[in-house]
Every structure is written in C-alpha cells, then in structure tokens.
C-alpha cells in the first residue's frame, strides 16, 4: 500500500512539473505579451516600458524559473486587469466553483448509478433501452442549450428555481443539473457495463448459491466490483466540472474560476491564465490521486501492486 501510494504521488509530481512548463510556454506562444498588455493605442515606447516593468525583457528561462519559484511559495503573480494577486482572485471565486462542481457531481452520481444498476439488472429490456436512450440524448445535447431550456421552463414559466446568481442555495440547482447532465451518460454507461459483467460473474453465482438477499448481491457483491471504473471517471468528471463550467457559469451568471479563466484569456491577463491553468491542473492531479486511492480501498488486489 505504501509503495503504491509513493509511486502514485511521484507520478503526480512529475505531471505537475510538466503542466507548469506547458502552461508557461503556452502563454508565451500567444504573441508578444507586452504589446497586448499595452493595448492597441500604445506607442513603441510604452511597450518597451511595460516590457521592462513586467520583466518580459529577461531571458525566457529566467522568467520561467522565477515564476516556478514564486508559484511554489504560493505567489502566482498579479493580475494586470484587477491589479490584485492571481491567487486571491482564484480564492475568491473558488467557493462558487467548488459548490457548483460538487452539486453537479452529486446530482450526476445519484442519477447515473441507480439508473446504471437498473439497466444492468434488466439487461436487454425496454427499460434498459430507454435508459440508454437518455444516455445518448445526454451525450448529444449541448449544455448551453439545456441550460437555456431549463431557464425558460423551470425558471421563467414555472418559476420554481432562481435562474441566475447564487445568493441562495437553490441558485446552484439549475446549473448543477446542467453540469450533471453532461457527466451522467458516461457514468451511467460505465455503471451499467460494470454491473452487467459483475452480475454474470462466478462470484455472483456463489453469492446467489449462498442464499443472500437480492440487495446484498447487487449492492454489496456486484456494485463494489463494478464501481472502480466509475470512481476513476467520476474524478475526471469532477475535474471537468470544476474547470469546464465556463459556459454554464456565463449562462447562469455565476462568477467562478472557469469564468475568471475565460475572462483572463480573452483579455490576455497572462499571470491569471497561468495561475488558473496551474490551479486546475493541480485539482485534476489531486482528483486522480484520490481516485487511485479510492480504487485501492475498493480492490485489495491493487494494494499489492
């Protein structure tokens, strides 16, 4: 178990370093940063002043190590746009993104897992096909469109839930549903296929031969073995929900980290872009690590590996 964890942690560290390098390189590839910061009306002199002021005239390698060094101590640079530390901007927007992502994940898991189990238990039936149809529709439907539909029907016509802002907790429900909708198909299909395999396995025949209850056979013996791929994908989906909710955040006017990232990209606020990319990459890495850990808890065979 310790070796397993150590190996995973080392891998995570290497991935973090790679992400650092790539995110730094990408912002430098998007054109002359001094020119875009100075704006279209700036003179060549202004640009030079800005280049000096932000240290952009120094060798790339020096800039890189500077940035990595300060990032390691928690300083992710200052925003040109807000004139505030990038780390503070992220911290302020994090609660919204985190609450939204977790709401979305909870809705997704609570829908996908029961439906996946049900489909597997009735494999080949009309119910199974209906559930899979929902999965296909979910996969095909663009989330902004679903978001607008929900705003029109649930928010405006029926007036059941607020359609923008998160002043109250129920403001998270509609965007949570929209976020969940994109994650449900994959999770549901994985649950279903995992359960179909598990239910056909020899150990399930043994469980039945032992006279165990249906609930114990399905939820204890089959689900535990079917859950591993679901856990791995759920972790990635949560990462996606935390980072990829830009569209949903703008449809529902929520100001989260995704929105911040989008805004800073479009305005060339590169310290914030770097900071957001780094932050989200670390979130992803932590989530993957967490998924590995959970899988090791679920499957004793992994702990020995």
């Amino acid at each position: 178990m310790v070796t397993f964890l150590a190996r995973r942690a080392l891998l995570a560290l290497l991935v973090t370093l790679t992400v650092l390098t790539i995110s730094f390189a990408l912002t430098r590839l998007s054109g002359d940063l001094a020119v875009s910061i100075a704006g279209p009306q700036a003179t060549a002199q202004d640009v030079e002043i800005i280049r000096k002021a932000y240290g952009l005239d120094r060798p790339l390698l020096a800039q890189f190590f500077d940035w990595v060094g300060s990032a390691a101590s928690g300083d992710l640079g200052r925003s040109y746009l807000y004139h505030e530390p990038a780390a503070k901007l992220i911290r302020e927007r994090l609660p919204v993104t985190l609450t939204l992502g977790l709401t979305g994940l909870c809705i997704a898991l609570l829908t996908a897992i029961p439906l996946g189990i049900l489909a597997a238990m009735r494999e080949g039936s009309l119910l199974d096909r209906a559930i899979m149809l929902i999965a296909v529709i979910g996969q095909a439907m663009p989330s902004f469109w679903l978001g607008l539909l929900l705003i029109i029907w649930v928010g405006l016509k029926l007036q059941l839930l607020p359609i923008s802002g998160v002043d109250t907790w129920d403001g998270y429900i509609l965007p949570g549903i929209v976020l969940a909708f994109s994650a449900i198909p994959a999770l549901m299909r994985l649950t279903r296929s995992g359960m179909v395999d598990a239910l056909a396995s020899d150990y399930i025949r043994t469980a039945r031969a032992k006279g165990l209850s249906r609930a114990s056979i399905v939820l204890k013996h089959a689900l535990r073995n079917a859950a591993m791929p679901v856990v791995a994908v759920a972790a990635v989906q949560l990462g996606f929900m935390l980072s990829g909710s830009i569209v949903i955040e703008s449809v529902f006017s929520l100001h989260g980290v995704g929105y911040l990232g989008w805004e800073s990209i479009s305005k060339n606020d590169f310290p914030v872009v770097q900071a957001v990319v780094l932050f989200l990459a670390i979130v992803y890495i932590c989530l993957t690590l967490l998924a590995d850990l959970l899988n090791a808890v679920l499957d004793p065979r992994l702990r020995a590996a």
């Binding site: 020899d202 025949r205 032992k210 006279g211 165990l212 114990s216 004793p300 065979r301």
Partner: protein, 327 residues
C-alpha cells in the same frame, strides 16, 4: 431403505436459442449418500444441478414433473423461498475456485455472511464458526486466513474455503459441480478425501458432478450417467461398474485404463464421434449415431428398462446383451 432427500422427476431445461440442454432428467439423492452425475462436457450435468438450485442464467427456462427437497416442493417456491434454502439447507460448490470468491471481500466476511443471513448469527459467532470450519477442511492458521483476500490464496485453498463456506449452516445436501477439475492431482485427492470424511462425519448427502470415472469409483454410492441431456443409466455404483448396460456406459468404462484389465501395449477404448447437438423435437436415442449396436428402431421412442431393481437404463437392448455379438 433410507429416506430420499432430493427427488427430481422429468426435469427439462431449455435455453433461449431453442436448444434443450436437459431433457427429462430424473434423479434421487438419499440422505447421507453420494450420488455421482457422470458424463461428457456439455451433456447437461451442471445445468441440471443449477436447475435444482434455481441458479440458471437468465434466458433459461426450467420445467419438471416433480422437484422436491426434504418434502418441500421446489417448483412452488419463489426466489425468496429458494434463497432461504440455498446456502442454508442445500449448498453448492463450483468448478472454478479461482473466480468463485468475490475478490473485493475477505475470506472471513464472505464466510460469515452466510451464517449471519440464515441464522441471524452475530459477526463474532459467525467468524468463530468460519475459523473452526477452515480448520476442519485442513487449513492451517485459520485466523490469519479469515483476514486474507481470495487473491492471496492458491486454487486448492480457495476450493477448501468454498467447501467450508458451504458447510457454514450445516446443510443436508451439498452439490459439488466438478470441484476438483481445476486443481492439480495431489490437491484433487486431498479435496476428495475431505469430502468423504465430511460426509461420514456430518451425514451429508452429496450430489457430485464429474466426468472422471476414477472419482466415481472412489466416491459414489449411486451413479447416474448422462448423455445429451438425459440420464441414460442409473444404478448403485458397484452394480454399474460390474454390469454396465447402456452402450454409452460400456463405452465410457472402456475408455478408462485399469491396471490389470488393459494389456500393456493394447489400445484403450474410445467412443467414435462427438456429442450431437439436439434440436427441439428430437426423438429416439441421441447416442444412436455413435453406437455399434444401433438398429432402425433406435430413432423411435426408447423404453426405460430395469436390469434389476434400482438399476435402470434407457435403451432397446436387453439387459444382458453380449458385448461382442453385434459389434
């Protein structure tokens, strides 16, 4: 005569594609006896056993004239009623010890849950019983094994765990579906000896499914020989080996190398051809294409004959038909 524990009459199992895997099997297992079900792969032995336990895969349909266990009509039981018997009064072990235990739970938790479910035993009491049974099936350091996961055990150990798990609630009937096929020869012998001892000790009835006549000779009180979904001959073990009557049974026995019986250098017997696929509505003897004694009447209805009381066979030939006359 001892009391019949399991009584099956006219069992039929059909699969979705229109094949009939079991075609009117009748079996009776007495209390405390070992009844061996012998036959080639695919003849319907395992399917018959799974049908008795109501463990058939989805898509299979089962019917029977009668199926009773200790006086309880199994045909009238719903899934819940059947689950109360399974693992409790009738237990089953399988051919695949490597995959029959759940990889995600410890040996102890899988063993304990049987007793907790059927007897409402506490976790502690169930684990104590599990440890005692592991010791009984010859596993040393049972306390340590209880905390281990299946992947940490060898095939032989896993099959011992399966046997111990089957015994958790003191069942009256143990169905063992080729319990030693996946194990190497020395472990096979140990497992069979163990089953014999347990039977003597606990008065267990065993329905042992095998294709190995050596095992039958060591274990069986009564033997039923299956071919293409039917029991073609059924007799007390001694009687079957002394006077095999169905041509298939004789063919099977000829395939076994017996010291002293088969001359050195002489060729072992074999049965030509393979087991046919039996289409729905098939009539007559399924063995006729491979049988040296086949006659035109074999495609009609085949009478069940009695050689002596307790020894029945499904063939038109008279009981004492001479082996070499027709061949």
């Amino acid at each position: 005569m001892s009391e019949t524990l399991l009584d099956v009459q006219g069992l039929r199992v059909r699969f979705g594609g229109g094949t009939e895997a079991v075609r009117g099997v009748s079996l009776a297992v007495d209390r405390g006896e070992t009844h061996c079900l012998v036959g080639e792969s695919g003849c319907g032995k395992s399917v018959s056993a799974l049908a008795v336990m109501t463990l058939l895969a989805r898509g299979a349909t089962r019917s029977a004239e009668r199926m009773a266990f200790a006086g309880t009509d199994l045909l009238g039981l719903d899934e819940r009623g059947m689950a109360k018997l399974r693992g409790n009064r009738m237990a089953m072990i399988f051919q695949e010890p490597m995959t029959s235990l759940n990889p995600a739970y410890t040996v102890g938790s899988q063993m304990a849950e049987v007793m907790r479910r059927h007897r409402g035993a506490s976790r502690r009491a169930a684990l104590d019983r599990a440890a005692a049974l592991l010791g009984r099936v010859g596993i040393t350091a049972p306390g340590m094994r209880l905390a281990q996961y299946p992947h940490q055990l060898s095939g032989g150990l896993r099959q011992r765990v399966m046997i111990a798990m089957a015994l958790m609630c003191d069942p009256e009937l143990l169905i063992a579906d080729e319990p030693t096929t996946a194990l190497d020869v020395t472990v096979q012998a140990q497992i069979l000896r163990l089953l014999l001892e347990l039977q003597r000790e606990l008065g267990l009835a065993i329905l042992l499914i095998t294709h190995d006549l050596g095992i039958v000779a060591r274990m069986a009180h009564r033997v039923s020989v299956m071919y293409a979904g039917q029991v073609v001959e059924s007799a007390p073990a001694a009687d079957l080996f002394a006077a095999p009557t169905h041509p298939y049974t004789r063919g099977l026995l000829d395939c076994v190398p017996a010291p002293g019986k088969v001359a050195r250098g002489a060729q072992l017997g074999s049965i030509p051809g393979t087991v046919p696929r039996i289409p729905l509505g098939f009539t007559g003897c399924a063995f006729r294409d491979r049988c040296a004694q086949a006659m035109p009447e074999c495609s009609g209805d085949i009478p069940a004959q009695t050689r002596i009381p307790g020894h029945r066979y499904l063939c038109r030939l008279p009981a004492g038909w001479p082996r070499d006359a027709a061949a």
